[in-house]
Symmetry: C2
Subunit: 490 residues, 2 copies
């Protein structure tokens, strides 16, 4: 039989690792810090890719592919950028059986190499906006790694856009933030807070970084995506100029934005439970598994044929429903495994709906159905199953989001007293909203003393940080206060 999953309340970190390994989502590789994404995990990435790709293309961006390698000199052209990324770079010094004249950095992100091409492709205002997205692997050397959440190599998409004006770049950065919010909530069923990063937490080379932050079941925060307004920082470094309508050469204004395989880790820590993976239906490939009970030899053929015909009816009901995906149905005919083993297995790997169908059920014209997140068996008449599956898949998607949002709201607190905050960040933990005077020293003091960081400054409808009345959590100043969310994070 299978291994046991450590319960969440005993050791959350061990629970996470148990779920990832036992559900065969990913595995450790022999290369330090690099993971292997196994088929059960990769199929989730394929759903993310397909769904987000459609949303990105709908904004007008097109996909392209740029080199894995970046000449070391390119990385050095933007001062803040190299300072931020140099300590994490993997460097090729030897290739084709000789030492390289110029070392090549394995891309940690592609602003520099892409700007070298933008500078060549963009001539006039007619070429703008130029909006490119890339699905690729990137490498950032990490000391402490965790499957999906922080790995030396990871998969992501990185969008890079050029615009004629500062305003257009700002609009684009905010628009992509909104795409990420909608995607995270509608597809991953993971509620997120959209906000602005503080100066210390922003992307190396950006004017301003927007982000989405999610709360995990251990009440820690996970940064789930970022959208940067790069201003003209990289354009200056690479002479990315265009001839404007007024006949003048001007620097383009840029954005970049990305999400990664980290989303899979965030999704797991948002929904899963002590029995294994809980997968929002929109990320599943197999939505329904039918486990026929085949122990009675004389009725086996009848049971199997009923299971196959039920599978077909469910697929048909899905196709004529409003569900934004084809409903995948598996009839598990494997007779070398016991039904009990199968129930456990499909719970572990997170199939949204399980149906049991035995000879006695068949006689009564019914089946037993279990929604993965609720875990309660229901008896359903055969003829009603297809419509119920469609309703349950839609309900499960919606309720996972609502449940996670309720959890976050329950664990989000307003604080104004620092010593109170220091106690509560330990126990019970959560997101703490407080006033902050916007000084780096207050931010650093809080991080140093509590290991909590500013996750973001939540935004008002005009995308401005929300002003807060009161006193700064750290220094009690009453000047230039904004609302900040403090939390420990991944």
């Amino acid at each position: 039989m299978a291994e046991k999953i450590t319960p969440r309340d005993k050791d959350f970190s061990q629970w996470y690792q148990d779920v990832v390994l036992q559900a065969r989502l990913a595995d450790y590789s022999p290369v330090k810090g690099c993971m292997v994404i196994r088929p059960n995990g990769y199929s989730i990435w394929e759903q993310i890719h397909e769904n987000l790709d459609r949303r990105i293309k709908a904004t007008g961006a097109r996909n392209a592919y740029f080199p894995l390698f970046i000449p070391e000199s390119f990385l050095k052209k933007e001062a803040e950028h190299v300072e931020g990324f140099a300590p994490q770079c993997a460097v090729v010094t030897y290739a084709g059986a000789k030492d390289l004249e110029e070392k090549l950095v394995v891309r940690p992100t592609s602003e520099t190499i892409i700007n070298s091409m933008f500078a060549k492709w963009i001539q006039s205002y007619r070429d703008l906006p130029m909006m490119i997205n890339q699905w690729a692997n990137v490498v950032r050397w990490e000391m402490r790694t965790r499957l999906f959440l922080r790995t030396t190599e990871f998969l992501w998409q990185e969008g890079h856009t050029c615009h004629a004006t500062a305003d257009e770049a700002e609009v684009e950065a905010r628009k992509m933030l909104r795409v990420y919010v909608d995607f995270a909530e509608e597809v991953l069923a993971m509620p997120v807070i959209a906000g602005l990063k503080s100066e210390s937490e922003k992307f190396a080379g950006a004017l301003r970084t927007y982000c989405i932050e999610a709360m995990m079941q251990d009440k820690k925060a996970l940064q789930a995506g970022t959208s940067h307004n790069l201003s003209t920082n990289f354009a200056k470094a690479f002479d990315t100029l265009f001839l404007d309508k007024d006949g003048k050469q001007k620097l383009v204004h840029q954005t970049s934005w990305g999400v990664s395989t980290r989303l899979i880790g965030g999704m797991i820590m948002t929904h899963s439970d002590d029995r294994g993976l809980v997968l929002p239906p929109r990320l599943a490939t197999t939505h329904v598994v039918i486990v026929p009970i085949l122990s009675n030899a004389s009725l086996k053929a009848d049971v199997l044929s009923a299971a196959e015909s039920l599978a077909k009816s469910i697929q048909d009901a899905g196709a004529s429903s409003q569900l934004p995906y084809s409903v995948g149905v598996l009839v598990d005919q494997d007779e070398t495994k016991q039904p009990g083993w199968k129930f456990h297995e499909y719970e572990l790997i997170g199939v949204p709906i399980r149906i049991e169908l035995g000879p006695r059920d068949l006689e009564k014209g019914q089946i037993v159905m279990t929604r993965r997140d609720l875990g309660q068996k229901e008896v359903v008449l055969l003829g009603e199953v297809p419509q119920k599956v469609v309703r349950d898949l839609a309900a499960m998607q919606k309720e996972l989001l609502e449940k996670a949002r309720a959890f976050r709201e329950k664990n989000t607190f307003a604080v104004d007293d620092y010593s109170d905050f220091r106690k509560r960040i330990e126990e019970p933990g959560g997101f703490f909203m407080a006033a902050w005077c916007q000084s780096k020293s207050c931010e650093a003091k809080i991080k140093e003393e509590t290991k909590a960081t500013i996750r973001c400054l939540p935004l008002d409808p005009d995308h401005q940080p929300i002003a807060e009345a009161g006193r700064c959590l750290a220094c009690s100043s009453t000047d230039s206060l904004v609302r900040a969310i403090f939390a420990r994070s991944y």
Copy 2:
């Protein structure tokens, strides 16, 4: 106005580069040997990916992702493999701001890193067959590179499978060869010859390599995909063992198989012409462009509205047709460009069907339609356009394949006299079928003296090289003769 494309008959190699650069399919990057795949080229790769991925999954393989880096010691475990790949490796020696204890090779192919995981995952015959596919970038340091055809970094899929018996592995290798043949012919409209590679040309580490070979318009051969029976070579090196039904530990029998972005280059050199890219409809995203003639201000609104309604009718006709894709229709409303400029542009980038619609056409209830590969204008009644588009797209896909096949047949010759062959390989060139005694020295002599290599040994219905009567092309021996295809190649 645009640059001129060098005609094929003047300089084929320059023609190819002109098409790739001017149609904005790819560009040179600042990193030696690495290309940038631009949106017009990447959308072709997306079609290839989507279509081939479906075929691969239908065979039972599932996608996964393995690390980019391979510990140097792993590559050395299989002797022939390291000998074949070491000269082409790019090596990371420095990462995270220090020298690495063990150097990491950027994967040139993933047999070794994947076997290290197979050895961990596979325990018993119940775990077999294990069939994994990966879409990834790989790096092979090349001296002379050409966009798409041979680049230092390229994108590909690599399948890796494990089986309980030698027979099953052989069946799998042949099955995937067949998948590649069907894919190349049905989707790329590129006819291929399936065959066996000679010992000197097989994959480093394989027992046997099958391949598909295509003829380009300059009559040179392009290896377009390979499928390897790896026997137990990598299983031995990595102790990839399973407990068989008989209670004995046995080595797994493996295959690997792949195609790459090189296919895009092959497709271009198969179909394109002196006016630019000719794209088989199954690789297109925009299948039809409607260019409304908007010069008459008072009729502009009518023309535009007719164009939009025609676009809709074409999409609807596509949706209810047998075409295996949605028909993409673009109405080009850009008034800053002249119709003549647009005609040239859409020919260059290979939109399969162009429709011109002006006020006079509208009055007569007709349009002017041009199929990209034929280049002849046809007047078509408005009401008949949607069905004609559907028919023409299907016909174009079919006729491109037929035309390329006829070209290959016309340029394939049987030869038995070596001096005759030496003349004809220079002029007119082509594929030359000849008897070969299977000795490496004869193969090497022919390569040395004529720059022609054995592209493959064509297969009989049992997948065996075809025996040939006569004398070996090089040594005149009459022993163990097989039919070989000799050609110069990319």
